[in-house]
């Protein structure tokens, strides 16, 4: 039982990281690409692409931006 004690401070801090409020942002790129009302239309066209196609490709950027932001904001600081 006592052997686990030295680990306690590290545990507390890393658990706080996993429960960061920034993680809630991850719901945006999960929910938004699954709402057809946003993208299921032809106009406006962009470079000849109907909205259905270009907007869904733009959601990729939304996903990348969100995961990158969350990663940067929840990165462990100082200990490596």
């Amino acid at each position: 039982m006592t052997a686990a004690e030295p680990e306690t401070p590290r545990t507390a801090s890393s658990r706080a990281k996993d429960h960061s409020p920034w993680n809630w942002l991850l719901f945006i790129p999960i929910v938004v690409p699954l709402i057809p009302v946003f993208f299921n239309a032809d106009s406006p066209r962009l470079f000849g692409f109907p909205r259905f196609y270009w907007l869904q490709l733009v959601w990729i950027l939304l996903g990348v931006a969100t995961t990158t932001l969350v990663y940067q904001m929840t990165k462990k600081r100082g200990d490596h």
Binding site: D18, P36, P50, Y53, G63
Partner: protein, 551 residues
């Protein structure tokens, strides 16, 4: 005839031989002290950094079959085929935190497969066996499908024969080479080959999306050509946009496929091979580059419509093999040598996932069947050996599926595979967060979800191919008594029922005070990182990794 395609065949063969050579050399790449350990052969020493993981997991998830089948679906059905894009967008934020927990607990306990985790977490060999069998059954047809990708290319190059064996000889040779270097080099082989494969694919697709629209009169006219084709077809559910009846199917298929993808054993193998949590998180931001690629590849289906591509005839009289749409497009539009490069990209693209999948299936057999039921005290060297041999057996099985059975059978099985692998979600993915579910209830939920999923798939006809059963994954809600023409993805319904049953049976078993077993993991295990002490030590890894510079 094949003589017309000589340049293509030469370029294809040269690139194919190059990567085969790399596969054998890979055993010496980042060589371990002791290859006779499952961590080394099956997980590349759990040491891959950001770049290798990016190529490996990218090459693993975005398979040759995807590159052939998604544009084929776009060619045939239009917008519905584009589900692959939202599917591969929502996956990464969805698993961003989940995979880190899985990596940590596996690192600490030396888990190689998802079933290893379930075994320790829920203290239930039966549940672990179910997870392992589900994984193997879902993976096998996926390997066979990679052969369908190669076959589409060979067919377009005119490499065919009269008898079944002659027709499949190139594939048998290709898979024999693949089996030999996977046996020797383990996960290091696909990791190294993935660099070549993905580089080729990126080049081919960048050229295709710039050059082909230029030749075909611009993107606008490509979409207009597709629109005209679907407007003329009698099928009410095709078109360049979704209609009121297939939107629910589109969204649930994208979401359900995303939930399923990282439950597949081969995805988990790729993730567990990475060095630390940081590598995984950074890859969740970097892997969507492949989604962009996939979106552009999907549009090749529309380019094929604009270019007036006619797919080659299928195995049976009067049918067409829609998987040849993209190879035929390349053959018509590109110079021969570049078409050869494109074909090599698809062919090599089949080898990487096929190798990883066979390794993942072999690891499941070794850890969760052989070690659990046949030889409890197997040494790490024996485990590695059994896994190597099993990977050979798995590949022979995949080739046999393609040579002796209708390829349609593999395609059906893969459709089923997505639905059944989803039934491991409560035990594996939710199990990483909570042990609230009772082990007996998880088994009951698995049985319920599996049974319902199979029944629903059996009910779905396919009017296009005139099949009465297993015709697709879009289940008409009217079968449940709703007054609507809407359809929904089978997997989502099955996994929801699975969860409800698991929850209800948990309450019942807990009320009846049925023993729950002992959780072998601690909350702290789910946050462990590189350098933290391991409960089950690996093969001299700690000395090894200490040598690497700390960047």
């Amino acid at each position: 005839m094949w003589r017309d395609h000589l340049t293509e065949i030469i370029v294809f063969s040269a690139l194919f031989l190059l990567v085969s050579g790399m596969g054998f050399v890979a055993a010496r790449w980042r060589a371990p002290k002791d290859m006779a350990h499952l961590d080394e052969w099956g997980l590349g020493g759990r040491s891959f950094g950001g770049w290798i993981t990016w190529f490996l997991v990218g090459g693993d998830l975005y398979t040759a079959y995807t590159f052939v089948a998604v544009p084929a679906l776009m060619f045939g059905a239009g917008a519905a085929g584009f589900f692959a894009v939202p599917y591969t967008i929502v996956i990464y934020p969805l698993v961003f935190l989940v995979l880190c927990r899985l990596w940590s607990v596996s690192h600490r306990h030396g888990f190689v497969t998802p079933a290893d985790f379930v075994r320790r977490r829920f203290d239930s060999p039966v549940l672990a066996l179910l997870i392992a069998i589900t994984g193997i059954v879902a993976t096998m047809p996926y390997i066979a499908l990679q052969l369908v990708g190669i076959e589409a290319v060979l067919k377009t190059m005119g490499v065919t024969g009269d008898s079944a064996v002659a027709r499949h000889l190139p594939i048998i040779i290709a898979f024999a080479i693949l089996a030999a270097y996977t046996y020797q080099s383990g996960l290091r082989a696909p990791a190294l080959i993935a660099f070549v494969k993905d580089t080729l694919i990126y080049i081919v697709i960048l050229v295709a999306v710039i050059y082909l629209p230029y030749k075909l009169g611009g993107w606008g006219s490509i979409f207009d050509a597709a629109d005209a084709k679907f407007a003329a077809s009698p099928n009410p559910n095709d078109g360049i946009l979704l209609n009121a009846n297939n939107q629910l199917q589109y969204v649930t298929l994208a979401f359900g496929s995303a939930l399923a993808l990282f439950l597949y054993p081969h995805s988990i193998t790729g993730v567990l091979a990475s060095r630390n949590r940081d590598v995984i998180k950074r890859n969740m931001s970097a892997l969507p580059a492949y989604s962009l690629l996939l979106g552009l590849i999907a549009l090749l289906g529309f380019m094929a419509i604009a270019a007036g591509v006619k797919p080659l005839p299928g195995a049976k009289e009067g049918t067409v093999d829609s998987n040849t749409v993209v190879p035929v497009l390349f053959d018509q539009q590109f110079p021969d040598w570049f078409a050869g490069v494109a074909y090599a990209a698809i062919g090599i693209g089949a080898l990487v996932p096929a190798a990883i999948m066979s390794i993942a299936a072999a690891n499941l057999f070794t850890r969760n069947i052989y070690k659990e039921y046949l030889k409890r005290d197997a040494s790490p060297a024996q485990e590695a050996n059994v896994s190597k041999i099993t990977s050979l057996v798995v590949k022979v099985g995949a080739v046999a599926c393609i040579v002796f059975l209708d390829p349609q059978f593999s395609i059906d099985l893969q459709l089923i595979g997505g639905v059944i692998i989803l039934q491991t979600l409560p035990a594996v993915a939710l199990g990483l967060y909570t042990r609230w579910f009772h082990r007996g209830a998880l088994i009951a939920g698995w049985v319920a979800g599996m049974g319902l999923g199979m029944w629903m798939l059996y009910q779905i006809p396919n009017p296009a191919s005139k099949r009465a059963h297993f015709g697709g994954s879009a289940f008409p809600l009217s079968e449940f008594g709703f007054d609507t023409k809407k359809t929904i993805y089978v997997g989502i319904v099955a996994v929801l029922v699975n969860l409800v049953v698991a929850a209800l049976v948990t309450l019942a078993l807990r009320a009846a005070k049925v023993a729950e077993g002992v959780d072998g993991t601690t909350p702290d295990d789910y946050f462990a990182d590189e350098g933290d002490p391991r409960v089950t030590p690996g093969p001299d890894r700690d000395a090894d990794s200490a040598r690497e510079p700390v960047a």
